[in-house]
């Protein structure tokens, strides 16, 4: 599904990712953990194609297509979904209008028929119910005035509606209380399938109690310094990152 080979990237002249190798197969959930400043969010941004990051080496393939050549919207249409750590507030733009536009862009790209307002509403309301979002949500502007929990649930709602091949969740657990965390994790788990993959970026092991990863990778100073199964996350919870960093150094 996703093949990252020796990816190097940075901002201006400052290198942040210093050679990342990662292979994610369909049906898998990978967790990427690491201390602050290790490059986790940069990796998410580079995968989604955010401006301001310079890729200086390596490649990223999504089902054998070169992702790095594509504009952010082309990546999204190819099935890359980034759940933002800080979802952007867009005052004045109605949530329903926004989401239907996005859904239809992606459907168009896949050669599927666009959803009319009725069918869209039907589909979105069902998903909203699952995520415990009230219906007035659709009338509100995108993320504007939303609480932290609402923003994150909105990300998951969008993810559910856009049905991505590769979902990258960037610190989706930050700022959530335990109930909201459970709802968000349920939403993510429900989307798990044999034909898609999930990359979960998190600082804490807590989220991984709910979204159980097949693989855990530790990112430090722009490199993956350790990979393992879910037990690695527990080990990190217990011992912190220091022992790994010492080993790496």
């Amino acid at each position: 599904m996703l093949e990252i080979k020796n990816l190097q990237a940075g901002i201006e002249d400052k290198p942040i990712l210093k050679g990342i190798d990662l292979s994610v197969n369909a049906g898998e959930v990978h967790a990427i953990m690491g201390p602050n400043g290790s490059g986790k969010s940069t990796l998410a941004s580079v995968l989604a194609g955010r401006d301001g990051y310079d890729v200086t080496g390596g490649e990223v393939l999504l089902q054998d297509d070169d992702l790095l050549d594509l504009a952010p919207e082309e990546r999204a249409r190819e099935g890359v979904f980034l759940a933002f750590q800080y979802p952007v507030e867009i005052p004045g733009v109605n949530s329903a209008y926004f989401l239907r536009s996005a859904v239809n862009e992606i459907r168009k790209h896949r050669g599927e028929e666009e959803l009319d307002a009725m069918n869209f509403l039907k589909a979105v309301k069902a998903k909203m119910k699952e995520l415990g979002l009230s219906e007035d949500f659709l009338k509100r502007p995108v993320n504007a005035g939303f609480s932290g929990g609402e923003k994150k649930r909105n990300e998951i709602l969008q993810m559910a509606m856009l049905n991505p091949k590769l979902a990258v969740l960037d610190e989706t657990d930050s700022g959530l209380d335990i109930d909201a965390l459970r709802i968000v994790a349920d939403g993510v788990n429900r989307l798990k399938g044999l034909d898609n993959a999930q990359v979960v970026i998190t600082h804490y092991q807590r989220l991984l109690d709910y979204i159980v990863p097949d693989f855990v990778h530790v990112l430090y100073d722009g490199r993956i310094i350790k990979s393992g199964d879910k037990t690695l996350a527990h080990e990190l919870e217990e011992k912190g990152y220091d022992w790994l960093i010492r080993d790496a150094a």
Binding site: G49, E73, I90, G92, N94, F98
Partner: protein, 438 residues
């Protein structure tokens, strides 16, 4: 500080006053005082701090003649049906060049105590009211209006009463000859706990370089809730000058929305006096200019009592050689502790030749307050564009969506559903049809 050259009173208004004087009436003292004040001050110039970015040269150079008599153009109901908000279920007062048209107006039966009529119909009893809220304003256009206003709306809602339907005030300018000046005066009063929605439209049927000078005084009593939507969509030759003076009392809620789309030069002076505690006042505006238009909003929100909230939101979209001007002053008097005041002005410039001027000001004499203001001029938020692109929208669509949202932010604050929906569509069609969005 008006310069010496403007102190000469243009001859036309003075001569025209003879007719006003002859007509007499209970407001003659107000009219005389207005003429005298105007004679003393003359038109403001750009060396006046309050008019720094808005040159009135076109006005000062032309002998604008008050339209003391109707210009005589016959209009039918069909002309009204086509206008914006023409299809809404409202009570309607129609004025043509400042003169009331009873034929075109429709006022159905109102609850007890509610008055909806033309002002000149009910002047007696209002001698001491008209001009009382605008009296301390030095704006010479108020003086001119005091002297020459022909008519306008009178809306009175008694205590605990409410309007049966929104009232739509329609001001049409039919002037086809240059230099005609219409002076309109409105008096609006909401008693304690009264409620209502007022829509005020200014439209041109003629294309002449004519001016409209409207002064509105609004008294909102304790606990009243008033929404006032002003839609100015005059011809691109018109000059539109407006002055709104609202005095708000305990726990009143007052929302004023200004949509400045038309006129070559438009100026909205908004003067809010928050005289008692517990008030919530919202001023909300959208200006979209193109060609050589200039849209100016100039407001003073005077917090003269504690525990009041005021919020001002003004967005401007400026195209071609046009100019958008925003001046907002929040004045917090020493007694006005616990004030929560917020002011934002955002501008998008679409062309190489457009100009944005913004002066958001805070003047604060009380310490336990929360006051903020923000102003931006510039391009659309890169983060928002990226967010939309990451959801599959291309840059062009993302930009248009944000532009729509930029206008929508203002439109969305209108509480009246029908008006909001119609304006949303209208504003977007306008942007798509007349502005350079890409």
């Amino acid at each position: 500080m008006s310069s010496a050259t403007t102190n000469e009173t243009p001859p036309a208004p003075v001569e025209a006053f003879a007719q006003v004087e002859q007509a007499g009436g209970p407001l003659l003292p107000l009219r005389k005082a207005g003429l005298a004040r105007f004679a003393e001050r003359g038109y403001p110039t750009t060396s006046d701090e309050d008019w720094r970015f808005t040159s009135l040269k076109p006005l000062a150079d032309l002998p604008f003649l008050p339209t003391l008599e109707p210009l005589g153009q016959a209009l039918g109901q069909a002309d009204i049906a086509d206008i914006t908000f023409g299809q809404h279920d409202v009570d309607r007062l129609v004025f043509i060049d400042g003169h009331f048209s009873s034929d075109l107006s429709i006022i159905l039966e109102q609850p007890d105590g509610v008055t909806i009529t033309n002002l000149s119909n009910r002047l007696s009893g209002l001698e001491n009211e008209i001009g009382s809220l605008s009296a301390n304003d030095e704006n010479p256009f108020i003086a001119l209006n005091d002297a020459f206003f022909t008519d306008g709306a009178l809306i009175q809602i008694p205590a605990n009463g409410s309007l049966a339907k929104p009232v739509h005030l329609v001001f049409l300018s039919t002037a086809n000859e240059a230099s005609q000046a219409t002076h309109i005066r409105n008096w609006i009063e909401a008693g304690a706990n009264a409620q209502g929605t007022i829509i005020e439209s200014h439209l041109s049927l003629g294309q002449a370089v004519a001016s409209t000078n409207v002064v509105t005084e609004t008294r909102v009593s304790a606990g009243a809730n008033l929404e006032h939507i002003k839609f100015q969509d005059q011809s691109l030759n018109a000059i539109h000058l407006a002055s709104l003076h609202s005095e708000l009392s305990n726990d009143a809620r007052y929302a004023f929305h200004s949509f400045a789309l038309g006129a070559r030069l438009s100026r909205n002076n908004l003067r809010m006096r928050l005289a008692k505690p517990g008030i919530e006042c919202v001023l909300n505006g959208l200006y979209m200019t193109r060609a050589d238009q200039l849209a100016d909003h100039h407001m003073i929100v005077d917090h003269a009592a504690p525990h009041c909230d005021s919020h001002e939101y003004f967005n401007g979209i400026l195209d071609d050689q046009s100019r958008g001007v925003f001046h907002g002053r929040i004045l917090v008097q020493p007694v006005a502790q616990k004030t929560d005041a917020k002011q934002t002005n955002k501008n998008l410039i679409l062309s190489d030749n457009a100009t944005a001027n913004t002066k958001p000001q805070l003047e604060i004499y009380a310490d336990d307050v929360k006051c903020t203001h923000g102003a931006t001029i510039g391009e659309m938020d890169d983060d928002a564009i990226f967010y939309l692109r990451a959801r599959g929208l291309d840059t062009k669509t993302a930009r248009r969506m944000l532009m729509h949202g930029f206008a929508g932010e203002i439109v969305d604050r209108i509480q009246h559903d029908g008006v909001r929906e119609e304006l949303d569509q209208l504003v977007w069609n306008r942007l798509e049809g007349e502005h350079h969005l890409d």
